[in-house]
Subunit: 249 residues, 2 copies
């Protein structure tokens, strides 16, 4: 499976994704689900992908192919020259729709699922930072102040902590802690979500990736948060008053 | 939807269930999903049900009908006279299979889902306390020391706390706290699980229901645990060190 989470905060965009894919429980592989493009000083874009891997790889390949053709002088619109982040989401959605219309029937005939979804985060000079979720049909939604985060894949285990602590005003250092805890809860409960992780941060007003790094299995900081969170949860539970059976009799 | 959890501990059996059913989000009702039978001093049995309501109601009705016929002198086996809890689970499974074979085709033709599952907990004089989960096909599994709890319905939100704190040696007062927190997490995250709740406890070596009560929406004790848990979680999260972006650059 997959777990990817994206936050759209006043301070910036935070994206975190796992790397485990599986075709059945006996066929597990590692693929990065995060793809980034930047024109430093002009724009930075980050995609994270879930669902059918052949579909999302076809989408990211189509994005790359268009960029290469534009670089070679062709006058085509790409995620790097589109005049709004909304258009970037539309471009991703159009690629998604093209890929789906090519393969959906055949994939589904094989009994496999062709469903896929992609988080699209980015910021360009002259625009505000935006975060979208593109569905299999190519349609999409945008994160807002009411719901400043979007998730794809195994969203349930990591959702409660986001609901409790994330607001548009959350600082980036606290937001990183929250997505670490959200991912840690998911990793513990769903074996089909796995390390290493990919992390990207785009600060508001910066048109580049402030952070783009791989968090390996032995990452000290992630391990420390995981360990401390486990202890803090145990402590929180211990701090609750026991319930007397007599009272409930 | 539904959330029911059952614990099999050395100290006894704990069962907690919600009461919300829905046929679509615009058709929400309240039905108890917990059914208990006792012959004080001889045996106590508790069922909690999830899935298609017409199926589980047909199963509990069949159980009641058999008991009434036995009381009227008919020589039939019932959950109250079966000579083991394993047989009780088989009887529930047999009723499930009968109901499914009658309705499965027709329900599924209507585009509805006939799936259902039932937790069966109980203890009889001369036997040990046992906890089973009966599936739609009438087959079942039993809770063991390795996995001393079983869940039906929306199991994800309430699972992490059980994994972290429940062992066969957990005291009942702590176990009640854990199922309250497990249910509270589920109620917060899934609107199709709702108050009031039904709680039952059977202590090891007692052949009666030590606790059998409705937890109403305004229940003070449940409300206090819910509030304190929310505060304790916030505190636990605050206690984690923030993550510096510089370090991850």
């Amino acid at each position: 499976m997959t777990y990817c989470v994206g936050l759209k905060l006043e301070a910036g965009l935070v994206m975190l994704s796992d790397t485990r894919t599986n075709a059945g429980v006996d066929n597990i592989s590692r693929f990065s689900k995060m793809f980034t493009w930047e024109v430093p000083g002009e724009r930075a874009i980050c995609l994270t992908c879930g669902g059918n891997l052949s579909v999302t790889q076809a989408v990211t390949t189509a994005i790359d192919t268009a960029i290469r053709r534009a670089e070679e002088g062709e006058a085509i619109e790409t995620v790097l020259n589109a005049d709004s982040l909304y258009r970037v989401a539309e471009i991703v959605g159009n690629h998604m729709r093209d890929v789906q219309s090519t393969f959906r029937g055949a994939i589904s005939e094989q009994g496999a699922t062709e469903g896929a979804s992609i988080l699209v985060a980015g910021q360009r000079r002259g625009g505000r930072s935006r975060l979208f979720m593109v569905y299999s049909a190519g349609n999409f939604i945008e994160a807002t102040d009411d719901t400043p985060y979007l998730q794809i894949g195994e969203h349930k285990y990591g959702k409660p902590i986001l609901d409790r602590v994330i607001t548009p005003q959350t600082r980036l250092s606290k937001a990183l802690k929250a997505v670490y805890v959200s991912m840690d809860s998911t990793l513990r409960s769903n074996l089909s979500v796995g390390m290493p992780l990919d992390l990207a941060v785009i600060r508001t007003g910066e048109y580049r990736l402030a952070v783009r790094r791989r968090i390996e299995t032995d990452d000290e900081e992630f391990g420390r948060i995981s360990q401390l969170w486990s202890e803090a949860l145990q402590g929180a539970f211990q701090s609750l008053p026991d319930i007397s059976l007599a009272k409930t009799d």
